[in-house]
């Protein structure tokens, strides 16, 4: 249930395109089905009016797209950023991954996005039409005549249930009202796993990670993973782009993937959203964020441009790795 409408966005994009402020619009277009919204570069008003969509399935974080789009496109690009996307936007600016001058950012409010996997769990496969009805979604499938009523808040993405901020931290122009940073309970799940015994934790992760098919979607969608040469593409490594051969490779991939974004991860939740196997990858990232907050002080990546990531910084008084465990034992 988005507060801002598709037509408002199309109008805004069309006016900025026609007055020459921007030369292209990075937006969402309808995919094969109503729920698989696909990113697209719009260059004409006709195209915008025909194909641009804005609905409850526009979860894609466009910040990462700016890295390759600004590089290959001569001219200014209009991008619509939801609050959580603006954190990634700032983080990428901090890392000098794209030129700020080539982007015109419009902040748009977001009421949370729908998780297609959760939705399909309720309605089943074969979704042919999705309509909004107040606080509910009316979903028609090809197998049933009557549409199924699904409460919007029941099928939200995990990251939206634990939304950390409705405030935009970067924009050139803002549409709608500005929100607030939210005191979320996003670390509760991590704390729950921490409270388990090592055997339970091991079993939990073995169960989750063994589903991994190494499609690399988590890496490709992650706005923090923007290296041009990735360690997982190295043909000498023995782990390049192939399904994990055993449980070690699963763990190694996920530990290293999460570690490489530790301190830079804004917790945008793209990794979990794109995972076709529904692995709770955000928990690994949040574990690092939680640790960093506890050991080195509160830090929100992307909250401001130019802040120094905790893992490339130090103080002489830092905790020793052993003390970390001692402290946790005392707490427990």
């Amino acid at each position: 249930m988005q507060k801002i409408t598709q037509n408002q966005l199309i109008e805004k994009a069309a006016s900025l395109l026609s007055d020459g402020t921007v030369n292209a619009v990075l937006g969402w277009s309808r995919g094969e089905f109503g729920y698989d919204v696909t990113p697209k570069m719009f260059k004409t008003e006709e195209d915008l009016k025909e194909n641009f969509v804005w609905n409850d399935f526009c979860g894609v974080n466009f910040s990462k797209y700016l890295v390759s789009k600004t590089d290959r496109f001569d001219g200014k690009i209009l991008v619509f950023l939801k609050p959580c996307d603006t954190y990634s936007f700032n983080q990428l600016l901090t890392e000098h991954r794209f030129e700020r001058e080539k982007v015109y950012a419009v902040g748009i409010p977001c009421e949370g996005m729908v998780d297609v996997i959760k939705l399909k769990a309720v309605t089943g496969e074969g979704i042919s039409e999705i309509k909004e009805d107040g606080e509910n979604l009316l979903v028609t499938t090809i197998y049933e005549d009557a549409p199924v009523k699904v409460a919007f808040k029941d099928v939200l993405l995990e990251r939206c249930i634990n939304c950390k901020s409705k405030k935009h931290v970067a924009y050139d122009e803002l549409m709608g009202d500005e929100g607030e940073v939210i005191e979320s309970k996003r670390f509760d799940e991590v704390a729950k796993i921490e409270a388990m015994t090592p055997d339970e934790r091991f079993a939990f992760w073995q169960n989750e990670l063994s589903r991994c098919i190494r499609c690399n979607a988590c890496r490709d969608a992650c706005p923090a993973c923007t290296c041009e040469k990735c360690v997982f593409d190295n043909p000498q490594s023995g782990v390049e782009n192939k399904a994990p051969a055993n449980s070690f490779e699963e763990k190694m991939f996920h530990i290293i993937r999460a570690y490489h974004v530790a301190g830079r991860c804004t917790d945008c939740g793209e990794c979990s959203r794109v995972c076709p196997q529904n692995i709770p990858l955000h928990l690994l990232n949040r574990k690092f964020i939680k640790d960093i907050n506890e050991f080195y002080g509160e830090y929100q990546a992307g909250a401001e441009v130019g802040s120094r990531a905790p893992l490339v910084d130090y103080t002489t008084e830092d905790l020793e790795p052993g003390e970390v465990f001692d402290r946790r034992d005392i707490d427990a």
């Binding site: 796993i193 921490e194 090592p198 055997d199 339970e200 934790r201 091991f202 079993a203 939990f204 992760w205 073995q206 360690v231 051969a245 055993n246 070690f248 490779e249 763990k251 190694m252 530990i255 290293i256 999460a258 570690y259 530790a262 690994l284 574990k287 690092f288 640790d291 960093i292 050991f295 080195y296 905790p310 893992l311 490339v312 910084d313 130090y314 103080t315 002489t316 830092d318 905790l319 020793e320 790795p321 052993g322 970390v324 465990f325």
Partner: protein
């Protein structure tokens, strides 16, 4: 006497300037520490990439210990401070995934601390031996 007692394999990453010299001193002083410890010399403890630690486990290590100069004494001024943050994060993550926390350790050993080196290694090997084989981060293809 037990015949098939498990002999652990311990990988020790030692920084060239302090801990490696500390190990040397332990040898010169004829201090005993288990032969299960395999020392890998690195230019600085911050040369140790998290991938090194995981790779060591993959190739059959039962424990990984990283030794560096005491905080403030790094040959490169600040290398070991970075190590400290990195390894705190990595070890905590390994613990989060259910890997026994006694299998990893970070220790500061100076070039004058031969005795500390030997004592640390004795203690570490004893703890890892008690844990037994590394089953949780093993790669069956690399089995010895």
């Amino acid at each position: 006497m037990q015949v098939n007692e498990h002999k652990p394999l311990i990988v020790a990453f030692c920084c060239n300037w302090c801990s490696y010299a500390g190990a040397d001193l332990a040898g010169n002083n004829r201090l005993n520490y288990p032969a299960d410890v395999k020392i890998i010399r690195v230019p600085c403890s911050c040369r140790v990439n998290p991938m090194f630690v995981l790779r060591a486990f993959q190739r059959g290590a039962d424990g990984v210990i990283i030794c560096g100069c005491h905080p403030g004494d790094c040959h490169y001024t600040s290398g070991n401070y970075y190590t400290r943050r990195r390894m705190a994060a990595l070890f905590s993550m390994l613990d989060f995934l259910g890997i026994e926390r006694e299998r990893t350790r970070l220790e500061w050993v100076s070039a004058a601390e031969g005795a500390k080196f030997a004592a640390t290694m004795n203690d570490f090997v004893e703890k890892v031996t008690a844990l037994g084989e590394n089953k949780r981060l093993e790669d069956l293809r690399c089995k010895r």
